[in-house]
Symmetry: C2
Subunit: 219 residues, 2 copies
């Protein structure tokens, strides 16, 4: 293989990976799968995609080694191929949030609207964990909490927050978190709890980011 052919082959392969990532729906699917495996139906429920379309996007991700699948009964469960990919995805989103001015602006407006501007970051969270006066609140759906959650968190899914208010102490500092920086569940939780008089902030990232950070610490 001549030098030119080699370069072409490498850039071709790299661009195929990036092409597979360069679609907003597929990015959203990746975020969903970074919470744990999901059936196609699970994907359909939390995105605006129909079955055939979701399946098609999942094929693209699978053909590019971004997700893998296993079949159980009539269901096909998809999940991210490994933590290395998850880490790469997070590095890309982190860059986008901090270096693309337009995205930074949109994000600030979203957080402002939901009184979630003074978010806690993962480093700050670390110093707070174990503190008796801090309550870590996971507002994702229960199934995602079961697949994995930040140590010490309690699960109160966003759609049950109103009915479970009595279980949440008014005198603690509450940190709400969800799927990641693009997830709005924690924003909604902050807004709602704030109006009820709670002292609450959101984590600026989510469970998958915490998980990757733990992996890096323990390696």
């Amino acid at each position: 293989m001549k030098g030119r052919e080699f370069k072409d082959a490498m850039y071709d392969g790299l661009s195929k990976l990036l092409k597979a990532l360069s679609n907003p729906f597929r990015l959203e699917i990746i975020e969903m799968l970074s919470q744990g495996e999901k059936s196609v139906e699970g994907i359909v429920q939390t995105t605006n995609l129909n079955f055939a379309n979701a399946s098609q996007h999942l094929q693209v991700l699978k053909n590019n080694n971004i997700v893998k699948s296993r079949k159980e009964k009539q269901y096909v469960y998809y999940s991210l191929v490994n933590n290395e990919f998850l880490s790469l995805y997070q590095q890309i989103t982190k860059y986008a949030i901090h270096e693309i001015a337009e995205l930074e602006k949109i994000m600030n407006r979203q957080r402002e609207d939901n009184k979630a501007l003074n978010a806690v970051n993962l480093d700050e969270l670390e110093t707070m964990i174990g503190n008796e006066d801090v309550l870590l609140l996971d507002v994702r759906p229960a199934i995602e909490f079961e697949f994995g959650h930040i140590t010490g968190a309690i699960s109160v899914p966003m759609n049950e927050l109103m009915t479970q208010l009595k279980g949440i102490p008014l005198d603690k500092e509450i940190i709400a978190y969800c799927r990641g920086p693009f997830c709005v569940l924690a924003d909604e939780a902050v807004k709602l709890l704030n109006e009820k008089g709670y002292h609450v902030r959101r984590l600026d990232e989510g469970y998958p980011e915490w998980k990757v950070k733990q992996l890096e610490i323990n390696q």
Copy 2:
């Protein structure tokens, strides 16, 4: 802005960045610009693109805040927008090389063909720098060496290697490097020098990777 609109806006913005990156020629342009600024003609010379096409790809990169340009006389000089982007690009390529089996295979074959399999990595290089018996050889074009090079390296552009052989000592361990992991200049240098009896290996990455590593160390 409703939660759904927010998510859509963020994933849209992120996918636009990735779309701008998902073209093999644009990736090659990025690698060229990570050596320092270049005029459109400079890009045309080292890629297989014609002027209009190169200019078009450069516009795409510019519109997505990946490169910036300045005009001097009749020339337009393009460069990467900042080191944060350079670092992201390198993280993506690093993932591709190590986690995409097909690319890893192609790369190993390329290195095997050019006797460059036992490459030195940046950590190993660090322990060798300053050693009197090690000669660090930059085989990129002279202009790229001038824009920046690894401390202590000497410049012998690949196309002058044959004529400058007498200046290269036979008794030293030689480490050749060039633009990065996809660059074949160092492979060719290893092959040529090897056949002439030199003790030579290549750096598995290139000058831009060394530069980003220095930035991280000094921050």
